[in-house]
């Protein structure tokens, strides 16, 4: 089995990517503006929900329960979906999922595919697999279309093209849609994409979607969105394929009451998503004639097996943690090297794929806790980041200087006398570094601090020395 998360295994370390992105002032302005707008909208609609904390707790409990009995609920889903005329496929990893999709498309003689609302397809690199098999995928979600046309990468879970502004999108459309002219308003851009996409909706007979929720009792799949392009994608084609991560299961239709309330508010700051599509198997004369669901593992059961970080799978991909994160706000999503960016990406990617390729991610946080506070399903992201940091160290990926430094500090902290001695030694050691009462430059890893910050030298007397003197005098 080979698990990969998009191209995350080949991505540079967070620090390196962040360093480059911090130089891009336009991108930073775009990210800052967009996250601020969504954050404020979210705060408003959450503020007007009197039972917000109860909803969060309910969501957490439902997810907790599902994860505990996931095997049973998955089989229940398979049974119900099959009974309703759907076909259920199980994919252990990305390659298996891609093969299933390609087989279905080929069986129908298809050469094109219209796609919507499926970040998971980026996780398995479906588009590349399709193209290699001679099948052309068309992204139909507006933001995904912008990414596809620009050969770009998504930078946000909910708003993948958040790093682009209107002017940049306009020039992209002018070039890629081969338009002679195009207005500058958002309406003009929306109109251009509508014309471009509708031709595909009406022509391409095979559709592909993700799923926000898969309902075990009825075998239904639910997709929520803002544009209506998803609705077209899941209703117009003759054949529909939905790729759903196994963690997307909810037990009953009634559970959506909780999730549809918290998802829209957390994701886009709306009270409700403009389009909530829920479908069950196939219905003659109405919608697709053939429906396939691919239930994807790709590392998820491994996450499930660790009780300390299992709740990572509770994520409903609302992106609230990205919008609130002070780290994400500086760099945008590309720094995380994965389609799963921000705080949730920093804990999800290293668990899905091997730590070898994601050791920088658990450290891409100041542990400020803002993500945990906004998370609608109460995932304790800081706690899981710390848990994963211990895994990084345990698996031997920590730098040697850090390991030595931590060992030395642990020795010093083992009793009061040792700490007192260490303090005296540190005072001596700093002497060559102090200039005019300040430390402006430190060697090695510590140089990161003095690159932009001064350090006051260790004062001549520690508190414990002062206290001992005072005691003596008394």
């Amino acid at each position: 089995m080979s698990v990969h998360v998009g191209q995350a295994a080949e991505a540079p370390a967070f620090q390196a990517a962040a360093k480059d992105l911090l130089q891009n002032q336009q991108l930073r302005r775009n990210v800052r503006h967009a996250t601020e707008v969504i954050r404020n909208k979210r705060a408003k609609v959450v503020g007007e929900t009197p039972d917000w904390q109860e909803l969060r707790e309910a969501a957490r409990r439902i997810k907790n329960h599902v994860m505990r009995y996931l095997d049973e609920y998955l089989e229940r889903f398979e049974h119900a979906c099959t009974r309703a005329g759907g076909h259920v496929h199980w994919a252990r990893d990305a390659d298996e999922a891609n093969r299933i999709v390609i087989d279905i498309v080929k069986r129908h003689g298809g050469t094109e595919l219209i796609k919507v609302k499926t970040m998971t397809s980026d996780e398995i690199r479906l588009n590349a697999a399709l193209e290699a098999a001679g099948i052309t995928p068309h992204e139909t979600d507006l933001a995904d279309l912008i990414i596809q046309l620009g050969h770009d990468k998504p930078s946000h879970i909910v708003v993948p093209a958040l790093h682009k502004n209107k002017t940049e999108i306009r020039s992209l459309f002018l070039e890629k849609m081969r338009l002679g002219e195009l207005g500058e308003s958002a309406e003009a851009l929306a109109d251009a994409s509508r014309r471009y996409l509708r031709e595909k909706f009406l022509r391409v007979p095979i559709g592909f979607s993700g799923g926000n929720f898969a309902i075990a009792e009825s075998g239904s799949v639910c997709v929520v969105e803002s544009e209506g392009n998803g609705r077209m994608c899941v209703t117009l084609p003759r054949v529909l394929i939905s790729l759903v991560g196994i963690e997307k299961i909810v037990p009953t239709f009634g559970d959506l009451e909780v999730f549809l309330q918290i998802l829209a508010r957390s994701a886009t700051g709306e009270r409700m998503n403009p389009y909530n599509s829920i479908w069950t198997g196939v219905t003659p004369g109405d919608g697709p004639e053939e429906f396939h669901v691919i239930l994807l593992d790709n590392g998820r059961t491994a996450v499930l097996s660790d009780g300390e970080s299992r709740e990572t799978l509770d994520c409903i991909r609302c992106g609230a943690c990205l919008n609130i994160c002070p780290v994400y706000r500086q760099t945008g999503g590309h720094a995380y090297g994965s389609i799963y960016a921000g705080p949730i990406g920093a804990i999800l990617t290293p668990q899905l794929q091997s730590m070898e390729h994601s050791q920088s991610l658990p450290y891409a946080s100041s542990l400020c806790g803002a993500c945990y506070e906004v998370c609608p399903v109460k995932i304790n992201i800081p706690e899981i980041l710390i848990h994963l940091r211990a895994r990084v160290v345990e698996q031997g990926y920590a730098p040697l200087t850090e390991k030595v430094g931590m060992k030395a500090a642990a020795m010093a902290f083992s009793n009061g006398e040792r700490l007192a001695t260490a303090e005296q030694l540190a005072r001596l050691a700093q002497k060559p570094l102090v200039r005019d009462g300040l430390i402006r430059s430190l060697p090695g890893m510590l140089g990161g601090w003095t690159a932009s910050r001064d350090l006051r030298p260790i004062p001549p007397e520690s508190f414990r020395e002062w206290w001992a003197k005072r005691e003596k005098q008394a």
């Binding site: 620090q15 962040a18 360093k19 911090l22 002070p326 780290v327 500086q330 760099t331 658990p362 450290y363 891409a364 946080s365 100041s366 542990l367 400020c368 806790g369 803002a370 945990y372 506070e373 710390i386 940091r389 211990a390 895994r391 345990e394 920590a398 850090e402 931590m406 060992k407 500090a409 642990a410 902290f413 083992s414 009793n415 009061g416 700490l419 007192a420 303090e423 540190a426 300040l438 402006r440 890893m445 510590l446 990161g448 601090w449 690159a451 932009s452 910050r453 001064d454 350090l455 006051r456 260790i458 004062p459 007397e461 520690s462 508190f463 414990r464 020395e465 002062w466 206290w467 001992a468």
Partner: protein
Amino acid sequence: MTISLFITCYNDTLFPETGKAVVAVLERLGHTVEFRAAQTCCGQMHYNTGYPHDAAAMMHHFLRVFRDAETICVPSGSCVAMMRDHFPKMAHESGDAEAVRACDEMLPRIYEFSELLIDKLQITDTGAHFPHSVTLHSTCHSLRSLHIGDRPVRLLHAVRDCTFVELPRADECCGFGGTFAIKNADVSAAMLADKLASIRETQAEVVTAVDNSCLMHIGGGLSRRGIPVRTMHLAEILASTHAEATL
């Protein structure tokens, strides 16, 4: 009341003035302060960086040293958060029943400095005099883990001649984050730049907080840029009286 001071490792070494200020305030209020010289560190740096076993050794040491202390005062929000958020789980994982019991019994007796004043001693007016404009950086752990709310602000409001100026975007992290400031120095510096801009907006003379770690970060940035704003732990402001209220 006898109050045992857990100064914390970095305050002991780098910010002894904060410890002296805590002692001054508590003694002025009529309490006895004790300092146990065997104390070291809460283990936060090790725990948060991925060295939980080293951190556990420090926790056990802390529990032994302070086992019989009646009231423990800690002038560092993040160290208190470390103890409240992680000690119970760490003690449980260590399989040491006595450590689990010690956590249960001791954690309710551990107070961050502003919590101690307001919740335990029921004091907002510490008799301080500080004729300067002050803004408050709400440190992440005191805000989101301890939920200390407006306690520091209430204490500042009671200080004579002190003008409190609210910090814009006060709930945003300053970018310190312990080893984050070194491991992700560039992003940390970018976050700090935002924080410094907010501090400048207030035109305050002093920026205060209940954590010297964040203040060390903010102060390092102010110093590098030559911005004439001083960083002071809340205890140092509350300790100043008429006689010594000059910057």
